[in-house]
């Protein structure tokens, strides 16, 4: 009895969450089927038809580019991040504690400022090119290409890959590794047959934590990619901020949600404990 009375305390939150969490998402779904949601509800499938128009696949190309850039960025994060997490996990506990915090710190600097800083590094007359010129090397012009977007993604989301993998690696029971060595496995075999399989949960969290922001970003593509490399996030932003086609914008938001759900479904089979894998500091 007493217990049930206390649960009333959750009521304000439940009401708030129904209005500002549940209802808005339902609204997106509803609006994606409306001709022009600002002027009343007239149902249609036109927005989805427009997006999936195979005779004129402009939007599908953008979706494809977003997925392509996000996959490449995630893969690079994994290739760079796994060895880093592994090296960190092998250090003395005190030292690795300090270092793992240091690796997360840059992530907490305002993310627009970090991206802006890359603009000044990558510019034609920026620091990297001035340096290359000083030592007589050819200039490095990737600004306003999709590689600049990939670089921005890798830079911004690399810690999201390192941390979950690191968290899983430090929890591997040392005696399992010793047992493998006692049974005659060399270090390659210990890694391939014991450590790697045990760390896949962290890899899966890392992938979903990197892929999702990479596939939905519109800031990185706008600042580093210029106009030609618009991603699906840019299209959504445009519908709501400039063209005012809310129905189409909602349809693309639904598509992005489905995409994320699919990606999460794919990785979550490996993630036994998302909460611990996601721990940052």
């Amino acid at each position: 009895m007493r217990k049930r009375r206390t649960s009333v305390l959750a009521l304000p939150f439940t009401v708030y969450a129904l209005i500002f969490i549940a209802a808005p998402l339902l609204l997106i779904i509803l609006y994606s089927f409306c001709v022009s949601p600002q002027n009343g509800v007239t149902l249609t499938l036109d927005h989805y038809k427009k997006f999936f128009d195979f005779s004129n696949p402009v939007y599908l190309q953008v979706l494809w580019r977003s997925i392509y850039i996000a996959v490449i960025s995630t893969a690079i994060c994994l290739l760079l991040g796994y060895p880093m997490a592994y090296i960190l996990s092998k250090l003395r506990p005190g030292l690795r504690q300090v270092l793992s915090v240091l690796f997360v710190l840059p992530m907490w600097m305002n993310f627009l400022l970090r991206t802006y800083s890359w603009m000044s590094l990558l510019e034609k007359t920026g620091l990297i090119n001035s340096f290359l010129e000083a030592i007589n090397l050819p200039a490095f012009n990737i600004m306003y290409t999709q590689w600049a977007v990939v670089l921005g993604n890798v830079y911004n989301f690399l810690p999201f890959m390192i941390l979950p993998i690191y968290n899983v690696l430090i929890k591997i029971d040392q005696s399992v590794i010793e047992a493998a060595q006692d049974l005659g496995a060399d270090s390659m075999k210990v890694f391939g047959r014991v450590i790697l399989p045990l760390s896949l949960g962290g890899v899966a969290s890392g992938i979903s934590m990197t892929f999702m922001p990479a596939v939905t970003t519109f800031v990185i593509s706008k600042l580093l990619g210029g106009g030609q490399n618009a991603l699906i996030g840019d299209l959504i932003e445009k519908q709501f901020k400039t063209t005012g086609n809310w129905g189409f914008g909602s349809a693309m938001s639904v598509i992005i949600m489905v995409l994320i759900l699919l990606a999460m479904n794919f990785t979550s089979s490996y993630e036994k404990d998302r909460e611990e894998g996601g721990q940052l500091l």
């Binding site: 007493r2 049930r4 206390t6 649960s7 305390l9 959750a10 009521l11 939150f13 708030y16 129904l18 209005i19 500002f20 969490i21 549940a22 808005p24 998402l25 609204l27 997106i28 600002q38 060895p83 880093m84 960190l88 907490w108 600097m109 305002n110 993310f111 627009l112 400022l113 991206t115 802006y116 890359w118 590094l121 510019e123 920026g126 830079y155 989301f157 690399l158 810690p159 999201f160 941390l163 979950p164 934590m209 999702m212 922001p213 939905t216 970003t217 519109f218 800031v219 600042l223 996030g233 709501f240 809310w246 938001s253 992005i256 949600m257 994320i260 999460m264 721990q279 940052l280 500091l281």
Partner: protein
């Protein structure tokens, strides 16, 4: 073996450089007396001075800080009550309410931002300071719930009942017995919410209007039409502020972990859209 050790050392240094170089560049340039980023003109504090007399930046700063403070305080009140309530719920409703709370953390920021924009206009609210505040409260509450929940789980359920058996009315029992035990979680939740609010761009971008900008929004619009050097100075200051906040959160959870031998709260779920 020694080769691998050296290799891993070099590798760590390189990754470390990659992560810190842009931040160092920003901070160093905040002291550059030359306005262009291409040239170095010697040390100066002019940009810091200019920063504090720039009314546009100062207005954005005050919006950012007041929104962060207000939204964290509101989130702490609603979120702590919610955590206590949810903790005492039956299994089924507990699951339902918790997944509702998790939604904004799992969803992409751009979708959260757009969905809030839709509900605000459906409710006939004019976009501005108030809608910005509502949006920040929405994404902050889950962090408070997630920080308070573990503390409630560690709490001995008999304590609250013992207090009542000794004659304390429920409210007194709560404030005198339960509150002191869960307060570290509440403070961590507050700091986390505050940091998240300061750092947010995407959700604010969609839910503000009529000339109300946070620092992030201002930086975004400036980055496209050319950044003023004052922003470098601002970024140096923001870095120091966030750094100190995080050190505080970290030390707190490290102390907690030592005292109660529990794992610190998980804070990484919000990777979305940033």
């Amino acid at each position: 073996m020694k080769f691998f050790k050296r290799l891993s050392y070099v590798y760590s240094v390189l990754i470390f450089l990659f992560l810190y170089a842009p931040i160092v560049v920003l901070i160093v340039y905040s002291f550059n007396s030359e306005k262009s980023r291409a040239k170095w003109g010697g040390l100066t504090l002019d940009w810091y001075r200019a920063l504090f007399s720039n009314s546009e930046i100062m207005r954005a700063l005050s919006t950012t800080v007041t929104i962060a403070l207000l939204s964290s305080v509101i989130a702490v009140v609603i979120g702590t009550m919610a955590a206590v309530g949810i903790y005492n719920m039956r299994r089924r409703s507990k699951m339902a309410v918790m997944s509702l709370a998790y939604l904004p953390m799992l969803n992409a920021d751009i979708v959260t931002g757009v969905s809030l924009l839709l509900i605000f206009s459906a409710l006939g609210l004019r976009l501005g300071y108030f809608t910005l505040l509502l949006a920040h409260v929405t994404f902050n509450i889950p962090y408070v719930i997630l920080s308070v929940m573990p503390k409630l789980k560690q709490l001995d359920p008999n304590l609250y009942e013992a207090a009542q058996d000794l004659g304390a009315p429920p409210a007194t029992a709560f404030f005198r017995v339960v509150m002191p035990e869960i307060s570290p979680g509440i403070v961590t939740g507050f700091l986390l919410a505050f940091t998240m609010s300061i750092d947010d761009f995407v959700i604010s971008f969609f839910t503000t209007g009529s000339g109300v900008s946070t620092l992030s929004i201002m930086i975004y619009s400036m980055a496209r039409r050319g950044i003023k050097p004052e922003i470098n100075a601002l970024s140096a200051i923001m870095f120091i502020v966030v750094l100190s906040l995080l050190l505080i959160i970290n030390l707190r959870s490290a102390n907690d972990a030592k005292r109660t031998d529990s794992r610190p709260v998980s804070v990484g779920a919000r990777a979305s859209g940033r």
